[in-house]
């Protein structure tokens, strides 16, 4: 079988010191003079079990920080021909718009030099300060000329629901450059992690994130984002998969009941999601082969799922990236065809 396209892989983003060479003088001086560091996201504490699979840890290094380890543990081992790097950085969740922009911009230049230039199998997402959509759009325009950037990356929980027109400059930039928007697990923590308040456990925060993905799809649909940008592709990264059928059933039922509130939503939400939304397969969140088979039947769309290891996050054991129970033909689509359909820029370079 041809080598797979891994749509969610995480190179470890270094501390601020390593990013300073990619910042302007003002921010270099600010970070140094103010003694600022430690911008790793609460959504992925560096030593939490989910952040790095135990047998993928490299002593003395941050999770995913070693290109050598990524090559041997993921790219070679899992027969990955192309992998899309999704850096998770504190720049994406900063309260200061300009500080967030400076970190994101540094990460984009750093990843180009330290990963994309070093390993031809790698591609990357453009990390943007979604806190400041106009700055985000500028960053997209700055990076998009390098066609190794194949996507725009945003965390799933931001300052506002993602359908709001506040964010439309980002979606306009996505359309301008024919780039999908990748929405990844991770939160700015501007609101309580659940509508019932702040849970006691990191595990709860993590599990509850699949609900935010649901909320954001409803927001994008209801606010008419797909009316304004019909070609926009949204990729849900590390969202879980098994919630999707139940979500669609309820979304369609609610739409039938109160669609007069949003008359521009003139197609079923299920139809819109199947056309415009894609999901990566790790984690899948189903216990066994039978459940995976039923969930895939219920999703009822061969082109929605994208292969992803979520390396080095701990989602599966051994080499079992692909959930069990998928027919051969669908596996090929998930591994190769669907990513190529989703990311137009991959077609330029993947044989």
């Amino acid at each position: 079988m041809k080598a797979a396209i891994d749509c969610d892989i995480h190179p470890g983003v270094p501390d601020i010191k390593a990013l300073l060479p990619y910042m302007n003088e003002f921010w270099q001086e600010s970070f140094v003079a103010r003694g600022l560091d430690g911008f790793d996201m609460m959504s992925y504490p560096l030593n939490a079990p989910i952040t790095c699979r135990p047998d993928w840890k490299v002593k003395g290094q941050r999770p995913g920080a070693s290109l050598e380890a990524m090559r041997s543990q993921a790219l070679d081992r899992l027969e990955i021909g192309t992998a899309i790097c999704n850096p998770l950085t504190g720049g994406q969740v900063a309260v200061s718009e300009t500080m967030g922009a400076s970190i994101c911009s540094a990460v984009n230049d750093w990843i180009r030099q330290h990963w994309l230039d070093q390993e031809p199998r790698l591609r990357a997402s453009i990390v943007v300060p979604a806190q400041a959509p106009l700055l985000a759009a500028e960053e997209i325009d700055r990076c998009a000329g390098d066609h190794r950037f194949v996507q725009i990356l945003m965390p799933v929980a931001c300052e506002m629901m993602l359908g709001r027109s506040y964010y439309w400059p980002i979606y306009e930039a996505a359309i301008r450059h024919n780039l999908p928007i990748g929405i990844h697990a991770g939160s700015m923590y501007r609101y309580a992690p659940t509508s019932t308040g702040w849970p006691s456990h990191y595990l709860h925060d993590y599990v509850a994130q699949s609900q935010i993905f649901e909320d954001q799809l409803l927001s994008l649909i209801s606010n008419g984002v797909f009316n304004k940008f019909p070609a926009l592709k949204i990729v849900l990264l590390e969202s879980g998969v098994s919630w999707l059928p139940g979500f669609l059933w309820r979304a369609v039922k609610t739409w039938r009941g109160v669609r007069a509130e949003v008359p521009w939503v003139n197609r079923s939400p299920a139809e819109i999601v199947r056309e415009n939304v894609r999901l990566t397969i790790q984690p899948f969140d189903a216990p066994d082969r039978a459940a995976v088979e039923r969930i895939v039947e219920q999703i009822d769309a061969d082109d929605m799922l994208l292969f992803a290891s979520d390396y080095p996050h701990w989602q599966f054991e051994g080499d079992a990236v692909m959930p069990p129970g998928l027919p051969e033909d669908l596996q090929r689509r998930i591994r190769i065809d669907n990513p190529l359909q989703t990311y137009p820029r991959l077609k330029e370079t993947v044989p």
């Binding site: 939490a48 079990p49 989910i50 929980a157 931001c158 300052e159 506002m160 629901m161 993602l162 359908g163 709001r164 501007r190 609101y191 309580a192 659940t194 509508s195 019932t196 308040g197 702040w198 849970p199 006691s200 456990h201 990191y202 595990l203 709860h204 993590y206 599990v207 509850a208 699949s210 609900q211 649901e214 909320d215 954001q216 409803l218 927001s219 209801s222 606010n223 879980g240 098994s242 919630w243 059928p245 139940g246 059933w249 309820r250 369609v252 039922k253 609610t254 739409w255 009941g257 109160v258 669609r259 509130e261 949003v262 984690p283 969140d285 216990p287 459940a291 039923r294 219920q298 009822d300």
Partner: protein
Amino acid sequence: MNAPVEGLSHAADSTLGLIDCDIHPYPKPGAFNPYLPERWRKHLAEYGKFNCGPYADRGTYPRFQPNLSRRDAWPSNGGLPGSDIGFLREQLLDRYNIAYGVLEPLLGANTSRNLDEAAALCSAMNDWQVHDFVDPEPRLRASILVPQDDPQASIKEIEKRAGDWRFAQIQLGSKTTEPLGRRRYWPILAAAQANNLSIGLHVGGTQNSAPSAGGWPQFYIEDHHVLVHSMQNQVASLILEGVFDAFPDLKVVMIEGGFAWVPQLAWRLDAHWAKMRDEAPLKRKPSEYMKTNLWFATQPVEEPEHPDDLRQVFEWIGWDRMVFSSDYPHWDFDDPHLAFRFQMTETEKRMLFRDNALSVYTFR
């Protein structure tokens, strides 16, 4: 597979006395006043209910139907839907042969930021339910409303009502100031177990936190859906905090949240707990508590394109966990004859429409 099979049907039959876990009573004008002390009558007249949210006298998200109700549920006497006992009998209890119905007042009794106001309103609405509904119609049973952010006042109210057959459960909203598994609520959970009262967790409650961790949706069509996630988070919180290890006989019924999300939540909790169980050291894996301590009321029934997918969801959750609810008189009422579009055996029907509820509630 979809062909009709003899002995199977998809509807409650007319001879089976049903149990409806979700009926919403509404007041006649001034109905609470006899049960409110003068101090709180005056306070409410001047300040109104002091809820979280932008409006003084309504919820944040403008709804889609007057009083959220079916157009045909307005009584001819001009009162609110769900306020006229005669019409409620005719349109619901007699028509569907309902043996018992649990009242779920959604009148903001316990959402005030002023805890004394909440305590007064809960107590008044508890009296109102029994005098206006249960006494004239004993097929109906009341919910004990409690001001949950004041555990002492809540326990006082629970103890006052616990021996009264007219109350079937303690009702809490799915949106609380903190997740329900947090320690501040344990005295209430302990009192529920001690008095053999189940907790009915009905969607709604305070708007102390944003409806989504991503912020405030713009539309009701979003909020109505997003609300269900508060149910999932209460389930996760109760389990992960060890509530059911501490109170193994506690029964919780999830009401008006639908149920297609249940298997996925169980799987996702199990999958990630397997890696992070040291953070939440439970005696059993998360999904197992869902099979012993939790029940799920069906309304609003999800409507998959293939009705058999719904049967699959019942099987994943377990038939013994499912109880029927109609949500009368609200607009998304589930008719027991029409809501389930797949085939059920006689045994399954008896479990869903009656027997499971009898294992939760004690009807005396």
